[in-house]
Subunit: 249 residues, 2 copies
Amino acid sequence: MTTNFYAPPSAVRGSRVVLPNDEARHLRSVLRAEPGDEIVVVDGEGGWYHVQIDHLGAEQVVGSIVERREDVGEPDVHVTLGLGILTTRSRFETFVEKAVELGVRRIVPLTTRYTERDSIRADRLRKVMIAALKQCRRSRLPKLADPQSPAALLAGATADRRLLCHGDAEETSLQSVLRDRPTSVLALVGPEGGFAPDEVDAAVEAGCTPVTLGRRRLRAETAGIVAVSAVMLHSEPAGEGREGDRGEE
Amino acid sequence: MTTNFYAPPSAVRGSRVVLPNDEARHLRSVLRAEPGDEIVVVDGEGGWYHVQIDHLGAEQVVGSIVERREDVGEPDVHVTLGLGILTTRSRFETFVEKAVELGVRRIVPLTTRYTERDSIRADRLRKVMIAALKQCRRSRLPKLADPQSPAALLAGATADRRLLCHGDAEETSLQSVLRDRPTSVLALVGPEGGFAPDEVDAAVEAGCTPVTLGRRRLRAETAGIVAVSAVMLHSEPAGEGREGDRGEE
């Protein structure tokens, strides 16, 4: 099986895993799995299990854990990405899917001066996140925070590097700010209209460095994707620590 | 007006610009433009025009060119991105939109061993590309090639750096390959199932360096977006040559 399966930590009981209904149905009806088949199950909290299927019932699938690992596919750097809630929900979903694939640890929907919505469809986004988690073979499901203001996010933040991705930023590149490889990064990206000038000032006051993502004006969700991607590419040079991830390929 | 307008080179006649019907309608009906308003028009071939509207008719809008520039918003590096045609058309469109925003110069839909389609909707993709061109304030519309095999693309390629973005790549990072700032880059990304082993061998034979985009398995369109983004972030350090782009912000 090339895709991982998801089961919450409560589904792991000693050396056994009981897959939730939807995963069980997918295994049985779509993938035509049989007893003896081997799959990878992740619990979204860092647990990674190589599992052999023992039993495929009408409503559940039970398997035995053959091997356990921790944090397979997880980056060393902890990235929180705050993105202004977008008017077009599908664009926010595109961002969420890509950010999970790329290794984000926390997504914070931001309500700002220029956002035209103040709510998200958390259930739907959670489904997108779980699908991406399975697809990209990570083991931790990122947190999806409640919508909040940039000020609230910054007030509670502990990240050792805070970035404001901003079209009119001073000439500081994202790369230059990442050169010393921070272990935790908080990056803020505005909604379609960007941040208001006083929001920029307040973020800088709260320790954010305004950075540019290049010469072209990116859509908000593109900026969010690029920010996560750039942090990861700078933090995970090839040749370091990949061994643990390659076994299951 | 915060978004640019598009008109093909044939619409520029001396010091006048005649906007095509759809752009004219948008200006008149949606944006409620009036004579005397100023807009930016790009011709998709590097031409950038600051235009003052003279006349808004039922079917066309005519303006006078106040200022001309060349290649506003264009990167120095010429990037061609070949991406396997995806089964889900909307995912290929997402890639195309983001790649244009990020500065790609040529997009090549690839037919490979594992692609399940061999055609694209070129008209629809062209609309996506023009919308992205206007939104991101570039002046060159990237080329959209006809679907072709990786072998055909490589046979005709002149890029001084050829990359194969590949999940099982050797431990060569994209960054390390870009360190000396190539002026033209060709990057190949497979479809959902990746490249077949013999396709990888043939690409390497044709001068491609296999590179990894990080520890997690990215969806094909995400890999394409990340590849373009990484090349641009490495090729356009902040503080260099941005002056020309900031005037219109």
